[in-house]
Amino acid sequence: MTTIEYTRGDFQSDQEVRWCPGCGDYTILASVQKFMAASGIVKENAVFISGIGCAARFPYYMSTYGMHSIHGRAPAVATGLATARPDLSVWVVGGDGDMMSIGGNHLIHALRRNVNIKILMFNNQIYGLTKGQYSPTSEVGKRTKSSPMGSIDYPFNPMSLALGAEATFAARTLDMDTKHTVEILEAAYAHKGSAFVEIYQNCNVFNDKAFIALTGKEDRDSNRIYLEHGKPIRFGQDMEKAVIFHNGEATIVDAASVDETAILVHDQTNMTMAFALSRLSHSPTGPTPLGILRSDDSRPTYDDGVSAQLARAKATKGDGNIDDLIRSLGTWTVK
């Protein structure tokens, strides 16, 4: 097979990008286009499916096949497409409201089925397109147009939710960290099955600086816990912090206070560890894990299962014949 050389520009559509100036979505779009150009995916085989919301405008800005569907339903549309066409590379893009509120059901079922789709959730912890209501990932107490006295809704922890839905791949990255985003996209693409990627995305109009603990110069080094498979989990400006298991939970300690062997070594195939790590942070106001929490290729994908059953049915019964089928209950002849 010949590999086609693409540039980022090959994945840019001719449509004017219309997000607010300064929106984190621009950076994510650039990261995705950069990733696509180098991914080896043949352009006509890539499809971007979205629901509704600011993030859901994404397919219009990609020069691939795409569909801007309806609110919340992108994982279901993508499931049908990937099941019908396992030869394609199907990507889903949406925001936290799209994926976790109106489309929560489709998200969890796509993840448990392990359909070969890659889900990118741009989490800005706010409703942007409808101009600033609290979202299912907004923190308790958040004052918005629809919660003037502060939100009383307890938010989802997106990583815990995805893992609870049996996601075989769950990872988190940051809009502004292009290099890390591209790495995570590469890993998601290489993963066999559904991949859930949460991308913290700054909404500079309705929820500016929601992720300042991870992006601000002062705090970011002490709050970003980059996970790497097979490596002890240490972080901080001078790697002075570490994560250990204590009382059945992942716990942050001073690295100096524990024996080197007590420090948790990240194993992305270990579901229990992944879930424990997902509990380290809830809202990203302090130390927060970034990177691949879970990646497990051992579970068969849904679309492979469908194809295998079709092949088996054809092998055992032969290609279907409609004339025989309609006579299969027995016939009689009237002369």
Binding site: Y65, L81, A84, N105, I322, D323, G330, V334
Partner: protein, 618 residues
């Protein structure tokens, strides 16, 4: 065993209507189906009407737990399962109580006497035993102690415990087989095939079947009452007995094959549409992909995804599910992708009557979407017709790049009738040709370039180099398909979508009017009322009064000649199992002063109801 009656010469009837009724655990649907198959093998024409509780197992012995199966067999082409049964098989007091009112005067009742004891009588609300209080005096009663005779019949077969009485439905079936001179062989073959792995159960069922037959042959109670129905003189051809959900499923497979595309069926289990999912999931060797979705919305959304990917996509549901699919159906309309939405109508609104027939979703199919969103509607009018209706829906969807609503209902779905099979190799050719080349001035692909005749846009599927494009729910600019808020463009696109659908009227068969006598009164119907309207019309004509009949396959758009036909009659009657839905469309579209005959009482029309109304109008 011989299939002829040895010592009693049967009296020949032209038709008989039999209703099997018992507790939902008594196997009445099975007994009814076996009787039907034996009659079909015998060459009778037939039509069936199963009726069962929505609850899986309502309390045994109670009125809500009664399940029944009605079959009409005849020596001529009959159309319905009949109005009033001639024979009622009542396996317990509740079955008798809830079905007796339907039995014709002087009809026959076959009673399982041992079920008529104090506790069962009380559960059914009987204060005295109807077998002894004289309340059945106007009927011919055949009493059989089915339980002890069943126990006796199976004692050497090796079954034990609860399995012993399980086969008592076979006793009833055997008795009915004797009464109506049905052959036992088809049932015995069926039992052997069904219970091949449990020879003792097969032996018990066969022994009980024969015991029932022999009970009829030998008892004084039934002697000289044997009757038979001769084979019907149906048009020549090859026949099978088919129920509507099966034939609809097969029609989807056939229609997809005609397009050359693989079939994708997305569905969420719902009564009474689930059997379509079950049937299609058995035929993966036809390349059929079935997707049992997490909900109704996912079922249609996944189907839209599959349609975008170039599959012939279908989603199937019943009333409440159609409501959930509404928003996604608008997306399919806006993106102009082919999609079939099957709605097996049931009693509504809300959960309504899930196992009962009704035609009350027509206006929802017509208008149940936000915005200006007309879509083609095709309706199946009988169990066998569902096959052709499915193929027609697929033809329209693929040719015009549009979602199509395919309406069935509980009567069509669960009823059965003989079906004269299409010839081998007679499948039409609807071959779909995907776009392969760019169509824009700069070598790009523009998804809303339209065919000048059909107004269909081109179907370009992912994986095709150079045709990358984006579609979606936002209004699209004509030709280019780019997002457009231009007011004139929205008017144009709205008009174009409506025109595309309206134009299909020129590509469907004009209505065929059945009017041999030059009538002044027209009966017009749609869907599952076809057989009963035909029967009523025939009765009126037999009484010497002319009446015309039109039955609609296409509800939107209507056939091009419909207005002219309606205006050529002085009186128009519209019978519907709803409170007046087609009639509203006809009055609005054609300004005809049509009269409605409407019913929503969980039952199909009786022939007499329509017949009486026609006579009144003439």
């Amino acid at each position: 065993m011989s299939t002829t009656i040895e010592d009693v010469e049967p009296e020949f009837l032209d038709k008989v209507i039999i209703r099997f009724a018992g507790d939902s655990g008594d196997g009445m649907q099975l007994a009814g189906n076996r009787f039907t198959d034996a009659s079909a093998a015998f060459g009778n024409d037939l039509a069936t009407f199963p009726s069962f509780p929505a609850e899986i197992r309502a309390p045994a012995g109670t009125l809500p737990g009664v399940s029944s199966f009605q079959v009409q067999i005849a020596d001529f082409d009959i159309l319905t399962a009949g109005d009033e049964p001639d024979v009622l098989v009542a396996m317990n007091p509740a079955a008798l109580k809830s079905n007796l009112a339907d039995l014709r005067p002087m009809g026959t009742i076959v009673i399982n006497t041992e079920a008529f004891e104090e506790r069962n009588l009380a559960k059914a609300g009987y204060e005295t035993n109807p077998l002894s209080d004289g309340s059945l005096n106007g009927y011919k009663v055949i009493e059989a102690p089915m339980e002890s005779l069943t126990k006796e019949a199976v004692k050497d077969t090796g079954v034990s415990g609860r399995d012993v009485l399980r086969s008592k439905n076979m006793f009833a079936l055997g008795l009915m087989a004797w009464l109506y001179s049905r052959p036992l062989e088809p049932t015995i073959e069926w039992i052997e095939a069904q219970f091949g792995k449990k020879p003792e159960v097969a032996a018990a069922n066969i022994a009980t079947l024969k015991a029932g037959y022999n009970f009829g042959l030998t008892t004084e109670a039934t002697k000289n009452s044997a009757v038979s129905v001769k084979p019907a003189s149906l048009p020549p051809g090859e026949y099978t007995t088919i129920s509507g959900n099966l034939s609809l499923a097969w029609g989807l497979i056939a229609g997809a094959k005609a397009t050359g595309l693989p079939l994708f069926y997305g569905s969420y289990p719902i009564t009474p549409a689930s059997d379509i999912l079950h049937e299609l999931s058995r035929h993966k060797n036809f390349g059929v992909r079935t997707f049992q979705a997490e909900d109704e919305i996912a079922a249609i959304s996944a189907s839209i995804g599959a349609a975008f990917g170039g599959h012939l996509a279908v989603t199937g549901t019943s009333g409440p599910g159609l409501a959930l699919k509404s928003e996604a159906l608008s997306l399919a309309m806006m993106t102009e992708l082919p999609l079939i939405v099957v709605n097996v109508q049931r009693g509504g609104p809300s959960t309504g009557l899930p196992t009962k027939p009704e035609q009350s979703d027509l206006l929802f199919a017509m208008y149940g979407r936000h915005g200006e969103s007309p879509l083609p509607i095709v309706a199946a009018s009988s169990p066998s017709d569902a096959y052709d209706a499915a193929i027609e829906a697929i033809r329209i969807a693929a040719k015009y790049m549009t979602p199509v609503l395919l309406l069935s209902d509980n009567s069509v779905a669960t009823g059965s009738e003989p079906w004269r099979l299409p010839e081998r190799d007679s499948l039409p050719d609807f071959t779909v040709r995907f776009a392969t080349k760019p169509n824009g001035p700069a070598g790009e692909f523009m998804p809303y370039v339209r065919d000048p005749l059909t107004f269909a846009r081109q179907w370009a599927v992912p994986g095709t180099p150079g045709l990358e494009h984006r579609i979606g729910g936002l209004e699209k600019e004509e030709v280019s398909g780019n997002v457009s808020y231009n007011p004139a463009n929205h008017q144009l696109m709205t008009d174009t979508r409506a025109w595309k659908v309206a134009n299909i009227a020129n590509d469907i068969a004009p209505v065929a009017v059945d009017d041999p006598d030059g009538a002044r009164t027209l009966v017009i119907g749609w869907g599952s009322t076809l057989p009963v309207i035909k029967a009523a019309v025939r009765r009126v004509r037999n009484a010497g009064m002319p009446v015309a009949h039109v039955h609609l396959r296409h509800l939107n758009p209507f056939p091009a000649n419909l207005g002219e036909v309606l205006r050529s009659y002085e009186r128009v009657l519209v019978p519907e199992l709803n409170n007046g839905q087609l009639i509203r469309l006809l009055r609005a579209e054609y300004l005809v002063d049509a009269v409605g005959l409407n019913k929503v009482s969980a039952l199909p029309f009786k022939v007499t109801e329509i017949e009486t109304k026609i006579r009144e109008m003439i």
